[in-house]
Symmetry: C2
Subunit: 218 residues, 2 copies
DNA sequence: GCATTTTTTTAGGTTAGGCTAATTATTAGT
DNA sequence: ACTAATAATTAGCCTAACCTAAAAAAATGC
């Protein structure tokens, strides 16, 4: 698989995560920042390699083999993110682009040794689970912060939007992966919420921000 | 610079290391394992970028700017080699191919942090010096083992041939970077030599082997 | 339910980096 | 010094991954 093929497959995997059976050409083009015409070409190629099922005009469905390969790429990406943050002292909002390059290094031995060196981490710095070498992910169910009810509690375990802008904002207001939170209030007309962070800090946030924060109840 | 361009430039740099002012198209093709026709194309491109001076039919000369860029690639390669050996427990003969991929990751911050993490190493696992961020290399003069005289002493600091086959052979016979050696005997008719390793182990080696081992006198 | 809009695909072009075959420059041999 | 051999370049083609414009299929609106 080439770097471009790996990136397309990863994008298709992520787009089908929400249980959607089929992903459209336009969706892929949006995710990859390429034009639909380029996507059609690539889908034909990936279809021939049998990592996706491709029916013209009807979108694409990732196969079991495709899923396995996508999860390996994701595994590599997230392991490198752990390395960058834990060992090289990168901030969590600086790692994505570099990991995007590192994930394409071809060496199973390297990844195996890296995993050992990092002491077999199960989550990356954004709280996303790291698949094992067989592609197995043991993720506990998560809630989106803006869908929780007043009084509910949990821990921030991940963010949906990994853009530097969003991550920097979270840092600024004092939210972080691992923070324990409790829903104090919800405003119906704009969906904004008030939460308590670590039993001490009150924090207001808009619905748009809350919709990008994932919570796990313990 | 693309990956291919970086690789060509590095090859040209290495080929001109022996003080040769000009490198031939065929030499580059040999080093890059491509055909001379492909090299002509690439030399034109590198010439336009002014990292080499290219006169048709007369070979190529690397410019100061080209040298600087080649040294940065070499710096990255050698830092990654140190990482692989020191941190991930790779054997010194397993690192070259992986480092060849890692050296093309584009992130000055990454290299700066890696350098810090590795504690600013000055030599890679093969004993080759690591250029600093300005491209400066402080290498002490080296002798080729087969050109030393009986009675001379020194330390193995590098090998010319980094192939896995050669490195494995050295491991097997007990030679390694850092070993202190003394020339015990030289056979004129075939150039083979006998050395003492670390004041205890006698070792015979052919001229071909000795010609690939570099010694530094302290 | 037919026309319009949207989505997707196809056709054809571009750039990077390879290739082979043919041509041209340089170098070597007698 | 002239011919033969070698080295280097050009011409023309290929594949991967993008693009734009045009055509075709599917979805939508009234």
């Amino acid at each position: 698989m080439t770097t471009a093929e790996e990136n397309y497959l990863k994008a298709i995997y992520h787009l089908s995560e929400g249980g959607k059976k089929s992903v459209s050409t336009n969706d892929v083009a949006g995710a990859m920042k390429t034009k639909p015409a380029s996507v059609s070409d690539m889908l034909r190629k990936l279809g021939e390699k049998e990592v996706i099922e491709y029916r013209k005009y009807y979108g694409v469905h990732i196969t079991d083999e495709g899923k396995k390969q996508a999860l390996q790429t994701i595994r590599k990406h997230r392991l490198w993110e752990v390395f960058l943050v834990d060992k090289l002292n990168f901030a969590w909002d600086e790692v994505h682009e570099v990991a995007e390059e590192l994930e394409h290094i071809q060496s199973p031995l390297l990844i195996q040794r890296l995993d050992t060196f990092l002491n077999y981490p199960k989550f990356d710095p954004h709280g996303d689970p790291i698949p094992d070498e067989f592609g197995d992910v043991k993720a506990k169910p998560r809630l989106v912060l803006n869908e929780m009810e007043i009084g509910q509690m949990g821990q921030i375990v991940a963010v949906k939007d990994s853009s530097a802008a969003f991550l920097k904002y979270l840092d600024k207001v004092g939210a972080y992966i691992g923070a324990r939170i409790k829903i104090l209030d919800k405003t119906d007309f704009d969906g904004s919420i008030e939460i308590l962070v670590d039993q001490k800090k009150n924090l207001f946030m808009s619905k748009d921000v809350a919709a990008n924060i994932l919570i796990q109840q313990s």
